[in-house]
């Protein structure tokens, strides 16, 4: 949409490391063979090293600031979240169009974030109106109105609300919503918009992009050193992140596009190809294999997930080596061994309604 490219082309590669293209090999033609061998030796899988900043402080944030690299990570596997956007880092683009719009350069293409914003405002207005009506009814009750009177008023109010909603849907396109004034600091010296947004990677994404696919310009050892203090390292501090990563790697490596599931109260969302292509169908909650909660915990998680028509997967992570061994391996930098000493087991949790399963 933004680049004017069809999604199929824009998100062609599901991983940030692209496969190499070798020329067609014709076995009985020696020239072809030599050329093929030449290509094989000279081309390597292109690895664009991406620069990351890691903020210090209690919680380390892994940030990518270069605009091109931000886009690269988004377009090749949907990694990271724009800090000022919903997920794709579109803040700068949106800001520029918004400023142009307010200067009278009216282009009708609203950014998705703006549409949501508009819709939320409409909803707010609708609710305000409804509260007004409810107040009126309450007054009527206090003055001793009968129930019949009340239902009559209620009927009228409902119609009014319906009409209001319809009118909202119709004629809102022209309304301009100005939420804030542009501040001076938004612009740089030449009058361009400053790139304020950075792409934030979840710690598990950062591990994946440094350990499994060497895409970031930071090694897994350095990253591990920044995420944990090596001197006070214990299994209990290490385990939560390792558990999350093991699950993340499991789904990523089987081809899923894994994004944070915090919006639906779970750990991960699984997209088959990516957010622009289809809705996520599965919500993953990562648990330890010995862990259990109160039933309410499961049922509330399932309610939220079920309400968005997704399937809840409980992903259990089982430890296969001793705790001491895992800490030792981590300290030695044998990360592959750390991660492969856990095993994944999955269970689908779904509400069952007797009436719908009779035949």
């Amino acid at each position: 949409m933004a680049k004017g490219k069809p999604n199929g082309v824009r998100y062609r590669y599901p991983l940030p490391i692209h496969p190499i293209q070798l020329p067609i090999l014709v076995p009985h033609n020696p020239v072809s063979c030599i050329y093929w061998a030449y290509c094989y030796v000279t081309t390597i899988n292109r690895v664009t090293k991406i620069h990351v900043d890691i903020t210090s402080g209690k919680y380390a944030h892994v940030l990518v600031r270069n605009a091109e690299q931000m886009m690269y990570l988004w377009e090749n596997g949907f990694f990271g979240t724009g800090q000022l956007s919903r997920s794709e880092p579109t803040w700068i683009e949106r800001t520029v169009t918004r400023i142009n719009e307010s200067m009278g350069d009216g282009s009708k293409n609203l950014a998705l974030e703006r549409i949501t914003e508009k819709r939320r405002l409409q909803r707010l207005e609708f609710k305000r109106k409804r509260v007004e009506f409810e107040k009126y009814i309450l007054d009527l009750r206090r003055q001793g109105g009968s129930i019949e009177q009340e239902t009559e008023v209620l009927e009228k109010q409902r119609q009014a609300l319906r009409d209001f909603k319809a009118s909202q849907d119709k004629d809102n396109s022209e309304e301009e919503i100005i939420l804030y004034n542009e501040s001076e600091s938004l612009f740089d010296d030449e009058g361009g918009v400053q790139p304020l947004e950075a792409l934030e990677l979840m710690p598990v994404e950062a591990i994946f992009l440094s350990f499994a696919l060497p895409v970031l310009d930071i090694s897994i050892k350095t990253l591990a050193g920044r995420l944990f203090d090596n001197d006070t390292l214990s299994y209990n501090t290490l385990y939560p992140l390792v558990r999350q990563y093991v699950a993340y790697h499991h789904y990523r490596s089987h081809g899923w596009c894994v994004r944070s599931g915090i919006k639906f109260g779970c750990d991960y969302l699984l997209y088959k190809r990516g957010p622009p292509f289809q809705h996520a169908q599965f919500c993953i909650t990562v648990l330890d294999s010995e862990e259990y909660h109160d039933y309410t915990w499961y049922s509330s998680a399932a309610r939220v997930v079920g309400g968005a028509k997704k399937t809840l997967i409980l992903c259990y992570v089982e430890r296969m080596a001793s705790e001491e061994r895992i800490v030792e391996l981590w300290k030695n930098g044998q990360f592959a061994d750390v991660f492969s000493s856990f095993k994944i087991g999955e269970v689908i949790y779904r509400r069952w309604v007797p009436g719908k399963n009779r035949d």
Binding site: P19, Y295, T296, D337
Partner: protein, 476 residues
């Protein structure tokens, strides 16, 4: 503003889905009953009409309007109950006598429709009811509960209160409530511990000692090879040199390299794998969670004596009991191992699963067992052999559609019935195996993925232009 209505980004829509969780999921048996309708059935006609269900206040508003509405609705319910004709026809009544030794009830003169799915006959030809069946039927008014005072041989009629006091534990009471709930909804239920019913199993009878030794050896051997191979591969893949030395000509190959790192539980997916798994892992008889019920969907040709494999199996969890907890993963696995029902996912793989040919009654193949029984009874009536075929229509589909169905439905599953302060809810818990499915997208060189779309558009455009032409014609 058409744009507002049709957002292009799915995640956008997903967000709104969350906001507008509608009552779609609520269906009839979950709605509270509207007694104002039932009033019409009662003997005395009600004078006032009761308002239908209306708006509900969430906070007290200082007036008593809500209380009045509630009072009226409640009154309607009580009036209906008080005035409707109730009772049972005397000639249809069946007496049932409680036996405290066997904790069941005996029916000297059994008759009635309920015998199709309930009750069992012992060697002496007496008809017995399970205690929960007994309470259920007494509550419905189908049987009259009695107790015999042996020395004096006096019949003592029992009240409902008496019956409830005969429950031996809270767990038994929970089990009864869930039994009665499913029963009222039309399901056919047997307790898994019930006596006098022919046991049918999916698993063939075998010598456990022999099977397990082979199974274990085979399994450990396999896993040894697996682990060695994988760890060697991993050791290289995750070094710095991997992408410098190796050439990946397709994304698929990169994924192949990635996916060996984290091992995952392999779940039995075929009949053979299921049987092998059963031999390999011995059942733990002291497991905290056991199967409480076998459940069949409502059906008319149910054979009480030899019911075959059930459609569902139910495990009970009482949320309020501090000594119980929601099953952990190892406990879930134990439950999965002990399951023995119509494994519905096998229907997806095989074109046709004939359950009679795939289950064993009393150690004999069920189809044989049935034909034996038939020849004994000398019945010559040809019976419909397989009524499962009706459900097996949409087996064919694109591979990715099938894969999706597999992922969504999972494999072995059971129902967990949760008892929460008397409220019963059900959860279906199934084994999933994302580790054996690959969903990676294989990019094509020409971007052929866009081609079918274009075709679609052409079609639509054509249709549109056709419509336009038709319009023009009609205008003319």
């Amino acid at each position: 503003m058409s744009k507002l209505k049709t957002p292009k980004n799915p995640s956008e829509e997903a967000e709104d889905e969350l906001v507008t969780i509608k009552d779609e999921e609520i269906d009839e048996d979950e709605e509270s009953q509207d007694w104002s309708q039932a009033v019409k059935l009662s003997t005395k006609s009600m004078i006032s009409s009761i308002p239908k269900r209306g708006e509900k206040d969430y906070e007290p508003d200082g007036t008593n309007v809500q209380e009045l509405l509630l009072y009226r609705a409640r009154k309607a319910m009580f009036d209906t109950l008080a005035n409707s004709p109730r009772g049972s026809i005397v000639s249809n009544q069946v007496k049932a006598y409680y036996d405290s030794k066997l904790h069941g009830a005996i029916l000297p003169h059994p008759k009635g429709n309920f015998l199709q799915t309930m009750g069992s006959v012992d060697q002496e030809g007496r008809c017995w009811l399970d205690f929960q069946e007994f309470v259920y039927l007494a509550e419905r008014g189908t049987v009259l509960p009695f107790y015999i005072n042996e020395p004096r041989d006096i019949e003592i009629p029992l009240s409902m209160q008496d019956l409830y006091s005969l429950f031996r534990s809270q767990a038994e009471m929970d089990r009864y409530f869930i039994f009665a709930h499913l029963k009222r909804l039309g399901f056919i239920i047997t307790s898994s511990y019930q006596r006098r019913v022919e046991k049918t199993s999916f698993y063939p009878p075998s010598n456990p000692a022999f099977g397990s030794s082979i199974g274990l050896r085979y399994d450990s051997f396999l896993s040894f090879i697996d682990l060695k191979g994988a760890s060697l591969m991993n050791a290289f893949f995750y070094t710095r040199w991997n992408f410098l030395l190796r050439r990946y000509t397709s994304t698929q190959k990169i994924y192949e390299g990635l996916k060996n790192l984290v091992p995952s539980v392999r779940v039995p997916k075929t009949a053979d794998e299921l049987r092998f798994e059963r031999i390999r892992c011995q059942l733990n008889p002291t497991a905290p969670f056991s199967i409480a019920f076998n459940v069949w969907k409502p059906q008319t040709n149910f054979k009480k004596k030899s019911p075959g494999l059930p459609d569902f199996q139910v495990v009970i969890h009482n949320k309020n009991d501090a000594s119980q907890h929601f099953p952990s993963y190892s406990e879930l696995q134990e439950i999965f191992h002990s399951l023995d029902y119509k494994f519905d996912f096998l229907n997806e793989i095989d074109e046709e699963v004939n359950w009679d040919n795939d289950s064993y009654t009393n150690g004999v193949l069920r189809s044989q067992h049935i034909s034996n029984a038939r020849s004994k009874a000398a019945s010559t009536k040809p019976r419909p052999v397989n009524h499962l075929d009706t459900k097996t229509e949409n087996k064919h589909g694109m591979p990715h559609v099938k894969q999706f169905r597999r992922l969504k439905a999972g494999y072995r599953s059971f129902l967990l019935a949760i008892m929460d302060d008397g409220l019963i809810s059900f959860v279906k818990i199934s084994e999933a195996d994302f580790g054996s499915e690959n969903v990676w997208y294989i990019p094509s060189n020409q971007g052929s993925s866009t081609r079918p779309k274009r075709h679609g558009n052409n079609g639509r455009d054509q249709r549109r232009s056709n419509r336009r032409q038709i319009k023009k014609r009609t205008e003319k």
